[in-house]
Amino acid sequence: MSFLVLIPLLPLLGFLINGIGFRRIPKNLVGIIGSAGPVAAFALSVYAFISFQAQGSAPIHVHLFDWITVGTLNIPFAFQIDQLSLLMLLIITGVGSLIHIYSVGYMHHDEGFGKFFAFLNLFLFFMLLLVMGSNFVIMFIGWEGVGLCSYLLIGFWNKNTNYNNAARKAFIMNRIGDLGYLLGIFLIIQQFGAVEYAVVFEKAATMAVDSPAIVAITMLLFVGAMGKSAQIPLYTWLPDAMAGPTPVSALIHAATMVTAGIYMVIRSNVFYSLAPDTLDLIAIVGLATALLGASIGLFQNDIKKVLAYSTVSQLGYMFLGLGVMAYSPSFFHVMTHAFFKALLFLGAGSVIHAMSDEQDIRKMGGLRHKLPVTFATFVVATIAISGIPPFSGFFSKDDILANVYQHSKIMWGLGVLGSVMTSFYMFRLLFLTFFGTFRGTKQQEHHLHESPLSMTLPLVVLAVLSAVGGFLNVPEALFGSMKLSGFMAPLYELAAKANPVAFAHQHLSHTQEYVLMGVSVGAALLAALGAYVVFVVKKSVPAADGQETGLQKLVYNKYYVDEAYDAIFVKSMRTASDLAYSFGEFMIDLVVNGTGKVVKNAAAKLRLLQNGATSFYVFMMVLGITVIMLWNFWIK
């Protein structure tokens, strides 16, 4: 299976070619080179998937070389291909390819066209390393690497200081998480003396449930996931990350990179299954994030911001699922979310493209006639994300909620509340953008046009996937066979052996399941209806900035979390820096220079002894002799 190496290598090659020759290669060629890598990687991934199943679904280990060897610790540069990485590979390369193709059209007029493709390819390379690596450190390479690419792409238009700040914020917040992850690795090394999944998990499986080391490891790794997957409290970078070009938002900040945290938790399911305490925390954090993101999404007016908060919220759902050990459902949601969220972003990109870079939905409206393909695909995506059957989102979200219900009914209730909000803001977005009358300038109206084929084709493909993706894992209650869950089941065998109690939960009866589905679907539909009434029937448009009042204002301003962070962390760090630089350095230097001063002053005093008077000199001599004599004859 050595061709597996090619999967990450091809995008890297694309990066190198476009990166080194970004000024000389003609644009058309750049697009082709840039897209060829991901497409080829996708093809190889499909081939890998097929051959993986053909050879009996045993995990494949590809050892490339020993990367870091220190003492007894060996960190090989190796890949591990199993169900989880294969699925991730397919998502990444598949969605990635589509987005690359989309970008050919979207970024065509940008002067940094070559640079853009280089960065995108580099991102794919790191993302693939992340999911293919056979140990925590290789995952960390990808983990940080995608952070770097995210940084580069958010700040892609680097003349704009705000964008640069957003990029920096993203990188630093990720780094905070990365530190947690890194400490987790250190603890793993300390505990197990290895970092290879196979070795570590084998050893971990013998440990007791809730043993402190495991809890600490899982907590630390989860901190990493908080950063990467934008969970409370490290989520604020993600909405800001929308400063990047829209394909970036689709690929990195919706479909792939932000799901790395979920991938990591599923990958480490042996750890997590042994740490129920951590799982509880994850569930709570996930749920809180889901609600927070959704509530903020309700009042946002920037089309990409809405989607960004939606992403935060959906990621929260995924963690909620992980927290109740619904690993496969969460992953299922990762997958469907990749489809419809990528689609939403790409659709939004198409709208923005058409609107001459306008992103405020208050200035849009009635676009469905001008952008039919975009509209149609957007509708599919909206329905999918709102959890309305039979589109994909329904299946994945319901899968999670069903598991949550077994764990805690309150959480389930709150989860449904979240999905109500989701449905509402998504339909609000849809209606404000595509329905009603156009509210933008004449000039914008004049330029309105459907996007080129390279952009609409990916939309259509993604729309199809969003529509039918759910059928991959139809629950038994709906006469499905849970194909995906079945496929992924071997991943949890070890964990189930280690902590059988946790896996031995009862299944809901079909009736219960129907009721749950009914409630959530009904709620989503109601919310959609509500949105319809408000924004289509009543044709109300959100208030202009600064006009919001009360709770609305609080929510619109994202609960002032950014401001709070700024005041608490950024300001205090700056103050500390200034203080250390002025006061601290001064004080330390005072001691150093003071020593010199003391000597100098002593010299100034001491030289006064040298007063030039012979009699004094003789006196000092006599005194010296006297003291010597006295000391030697009496005192000693």
Partner: protein, 482 residues
Amino acid sequence: MLTLLLLIIPLLAGGLVLVTKNNSAKQIALLAALIELATACVAFVQFKANASTQFGFSYAWIPSAGITFSAGIDGINLLLVMLTAFLVPLIILSTFRQLYKNASVFYALILFMQGALIGVFTATDAFLFYFFFEAALIPVYFLAAIWGGENRVKVTFKFFIYTIFGSLFMLVALVYLYSQTPGTHTAQITAFYQLGLGSYTQGLIFWAFFIAFAIKMPLFPFHTWQPDTYTESPTPATMLLSGIMLKMGVYGLIRFILPIVPIGLQTWGNAAIVLSVIGIIYGSIIAVQQRDMKRLVAYSSFAHVGLMAAGVFSKNINGLQGALIQMLAHGINVVGLFFVIEIIFSRTKTRNIEQLGGITQRAPYLTVYFMILMLGSVALPLTNGFVGEFLLLSGVYDYNKWLGAVAGITIILGAVYMLRMFQRAMFGSKSSFTEHISDLSFSEKMVLFPLAFMVFWIGLYPNSFLALTQPAVLNLLNSIHY
């Protein structure tokens, strides 16, 4: 014998350069440095990955006192020798666009400095080590004080006295250790390992060494000479100081403190490591608000070296191997960064990041190299900085998890200040200073390319270095008797 060659080439060449005409000095210096590099490469290739001292030589120097002129390369100094041999030609090349007064003296001093540095790293006799340890100070002092900035005299004087003050403490320790060796005394460092001193004595010697090396590196709170000196020195001197010379301190920790006073380290190691960690955070925090790029990198270097010291003091294989590889990595990164700053400064006449901006629009190559070096410096995986910091932090974490966690904050703060500098200088809109900035010249690329290459080599395949140092480090750790 290779070691002798390595030692002699720069010294002879320095003498030669001193008597040549000013305008041909740099070429001859570069040639000599390249020959040195080639020699070092031969040593690197022929080096056998075991714990022995190789290519060594030993001549009676002061036979009546048992002091020998002996040196050799082993796993612990190999990388430092390579670093010195690798960086000096680049440092010389980096000055090719500059015109220095009395160029022959300038380049001769650089070469003398190189010779002394090689001497420090390879000496196997304690007094020879000390001899070079202080001798290395003289050329760099003159480099900094003659060709430096406005406040150079005051600043470098402080630096000089401060560091010598520290090394004098080491002299006390060395002299004492020497006097404790049995029979007709010997100053072989390895002989010091066998002394088995009492714990009180070890504590005192530990501090004597610690102060010497802490000032040299520098560690918190002995660092106040450093930012000023780095800022005021001419960039080649800054590169020598930060790229190579501060490693003398870290190297000293490994070579002397660990094996000679293990009990002292046992007793006082906590204090030392806490100081190191404080320094990491303190330096990083200060760097956050700096405007002068040179000063910023100076503080960052201060923070990095704190981590190296912490790694060494954690006394485990990860920490030590991390320190060794990080010394190499840090030397490369910091020299590169200072060079980039010098490039920007030479074109814009300012190092204040508030006055810069938008450089990337006119100088993409500069941006790329700057970014690579910066990423190395913030320890992004697959760059050299990561390997070092990963191992160091893991070593410190093994020593004490809380210290490890606190030290780890450096990777966050490192990103904070480095990205800030990078963004302010390279991104945004152009300022009046950067309006006409030009991209890299050929000679500048010739300096930056090897550096960038090393950033990735070490990052991608660190085992090619780690494997060479491992036996020596393991041997060292095994030889520590408590």
